[in-house]
């Protein structure tokens, strides 16, 4: 926005963070920081004026007798200047505020135009297309992305996207990694209702109103649910019990989640025992509410029979900012999908729960809970396998109801984090997501929730957006002014890119981002904590 073009470094356009949230204001993080600094100065000037008033009240002599070097004259001059400081700083802050509001209005206006056009097109398309195809439009986008990724990564033939289309997209990487494409997808996702209503013969003006009101029958959630039902009948996207095992620990203990004898077990209803000796939990038994035993007593010191010993991990130092948090989100190299850190003393712990992104993009035949079945189930508002796995891991780690929890997540992990917080399954004290599909799930009032998104990452656009949203969106175009890597699929969605962006967020003076970092300090304290890494598997 303000940087020189063509500079690939963090200071260039790719390094510009745009912040939106808290009303209609949209601006770069620098502008918000300047606004806050000017308001601070305005407030300080008021305080200074009060101090000057006290000086006057102690006596500065009658004004007619003042000479230029006299206390009275000097204090009067200072008072006038301080008044001017208050007025000018206020005017400048107002100007920035107005600019941010204008920018926000412009963006909202463009969104409205785009959405209106999209709604009309969707309605017209709906008249022509089969209802079922439209009903599953949004989740099909997930499947398409999944198939694209699986074919790119594994050389498999995609089951949803035709090979020629996959090849074409691969040859034109800018097509999918493009803010314009992202905006178009967002408009499509938000106009599914109009399309279906069009197909049902509802006139456009009525369909548009119904779509705007968000009361349409086939938004992302209900269409995803419809797809789940249809796909499961065809043997795809099937849910299953999950088993969670500890694969790494800084305390030397290991165990398997969901075993009442080990983890307190309140809320856990084991339905069988897996080959590896872990207790199994059927899908309907979560959420796993109720107390678990405290750390140190919750897990046996030796691994469960049939499980691999947990890797010994170093006690984690307290994370200091967004980059540290992003770096600790587990990837496949960590051997697990969930990392849980505990800080504070055992009687008053605080927890950081790091949840990874989608691992398996195929719609069938996977033992991986972080799969397409969980993606679609999460969009459908169902308790996905990955969601249940996170609950089990938290319980096994010793997270008690009421303990402060800060979820930090990437991609599908972000969907899970939003569900955890929105459903009240954790006592969230904040939330940080990277590249998570947007969601209209409500959050507790006043909860600091930050969603970091790349403007050229298509995944966040796949979820529905709420009109009243308290999340603070921090956006950056990852590949602005630089070439999109052709070898990677959806490169703007990869965690490595978000880790780079997290470093920029750490450097941002934006007051709400600074406040989030300060809050993190109070959550984790200054002494090293403990960590465990958990691996979940589907058990059929």
């Amino acid at each position: 926005m303000t940087g020189p073009h063509g500079d690939p470094g963090p200071g260039g356009p790719g390094g510009t963070l745009t912040v939106s949230g808290g009303g209609i204001r949209v601006a770069t993080d620098t502008v918000f920081a300047e606004m806050a600094a000017l308001r601070l100065l305005q407030g300080e000037a008021g305080h200074w004026q009060a101090q000057i008033g006290r000086v006057r009240s102690l006596g500065v002599g009658p004004a007619p007798a003042w000479q230029p070097e006299d206390l009275g004259a000097c204090v009067f001059g200072a008072s006038v200047a301080i008044d001017a400081v208050a007025e000018r700083s206020g005017q400048l802050a107002d100007a920035l505020e107005q600019a941010a509001a204008e920018y926000g209005r412009l963006e909202n206006g463009l969104d409205t135009v785009l959405r209106g056009t999209g709604a009309w097109m969707a309605h017209t398309l709906g008249v022509l297309a089969p209802v079922l195809a439209l009903a599953v439009a949004t989740p099909l986008a997930y499947l398409a992305a999944g198939s694209l990724l699986s074919s790119a990564a594994l050389g498999r033939t995609p089951s949803v996207v035709p090979p020629w289309f996959t090849d074409w997209l691969r040859e034109n990487p800018r097509l999918l990694t493009n803010p314009a494409t992202v905006a178009m997808v967002r408009a499509l996702v938000s106009t599914a209702d109009e399309a279906v209503l069009g197909r049902l013969g509802v006139p456009y003006p009525v369909a548009a109103v119904v779509g705007d009101e968000g009361v349409g029958p086939l938004g992302a959630e209900s269409s995803a649910f419809g797809l789940l039902v249809a796909a499961r009948a065809a043997g795809m996207l099937r849910e299953s019990p999950v088993r969670v095992s500890q694969v790494g620990s800084s305390t030397g203990a290991a165990g398997v989640a969901g075993d009442p004898a080990r983890a307190g077990g309140v809320g856990v209803r084991p339905t069988g025992t897996g080959a590896a000796g872990g207790a199994l939990v059927a899908p309907p038994t979560v959420p796993l509410r109720g107390p678990a035993t405290r750390p140190g007593t919750r897990l046996a010191p030796a691994p469960a029979a049939g499980t691999s010993p947990a890797a010994e991990l170093a006690p984690p130092g307290p994370p200091t900012g967004f980059a540290d948090l992003a770096d600790r989100i587990p990837t496949e190299e960590d051997g697990g999908q969930v990392r849980i850190e505990r800080y504070g003393d055992p009687e008053h712990p605080s927890w950081l729960v790091y949840i990874g992104g989608t691992v398996e993009w195929s719609p069938t035949g996977s033992t991986e809970p972080w799969d397409m079945a969980s993606n679609v189930a999460a969009v459908a508002g169902q308790e996905a396998g990955s969601y249940r796995a996170v609950l089990q891991a938290m319980q096994a780690a010793g997270v008690q109801p009421g303990d402060p929890v800060l979820p930090v997540a990437h991609s599908q992990g972000g969907l899970i984090a939003n569900q955890l917080v929105s459903r009240g399954d954790v006592n969230a004290v904040g939330m940080l997501t990277f590249g998570a599909p947007e969601t209209d799930l409500p959050l507790p009032d006043g909860l600091p929730a930050i969603a970091v998104e790349h403007a050229d990452d298509i995944v966040p656009a796949l979820g529905p957006r709420a009109d009243e949203d308290q999340r603070l969106y921090v956006r950056r175009e990852l590949f602005a002014g630089r070439e999109v890597p052709a070898a990677e699929t959806l490169p703007a969605h990869q965690l490595v890119g978000y880790r780079e962006t997290a470093r920029l967020v750490d450097d941002s003076p934006e007051p709400r981002l600074v406040a989030f970092r300060a809050q993190l300090d109070t959550i984790v304290g200054t002494t090293p904590g403990e960590q465990t890494v958990w691996r979940a598997e589907r058990v059929d």
């Binding site: 303000t2 020189p4 101090q51 102690l58 002599g61 206390l71 200047a81 920035l96």
Partner: protein
């Protein structure tokens, strides 16, 4: 008691005493606090220079506004520093008269 302008100590009534000195010292403490705060704010403001990337007319106007604000802050600082000098001088005179 005489002073440079004759008006710095209007309530002294010619009789310098400990109460006058205490009042002057309180004024000095207050003025010093405000001056130092103004100085700190001025440094902070200077640190948020918009930089050369701000090229549009609106951005240049904003930059000019920031410059004016900095100059006004500097004016306030000078006035406060002068006031401090005047109080210090008055304190010296009161002490000399004791």
């Amino acid at each position: 008691m005489e002073s440079a302008g004759g008006s710095i100590l209007p309530e002294v009534d010619g009789g310098a005493d400990a109460e006058t000195l205490a009042r002057l010292r309180e004024q000095r403490r207050l003025l010093r606090g405000v001056r130092d705060a103004v100085e700190a704010s001025g440094r902070r403001l200077a640190g948020q220079d918009a930089g050369p990337d701000w090229r549009s007319p609106a951005q240049r106007a904003y930059g000019t506004g920031l410059g004016d604000l900095g100059a006004t802050l500097h004016g306030a600082w000078r006035a406060l520093d002068d006031a401090l000098w005047a109080v210090d001088a008055a304190i010296d005179r009161v002490k000399a008269a004791l």
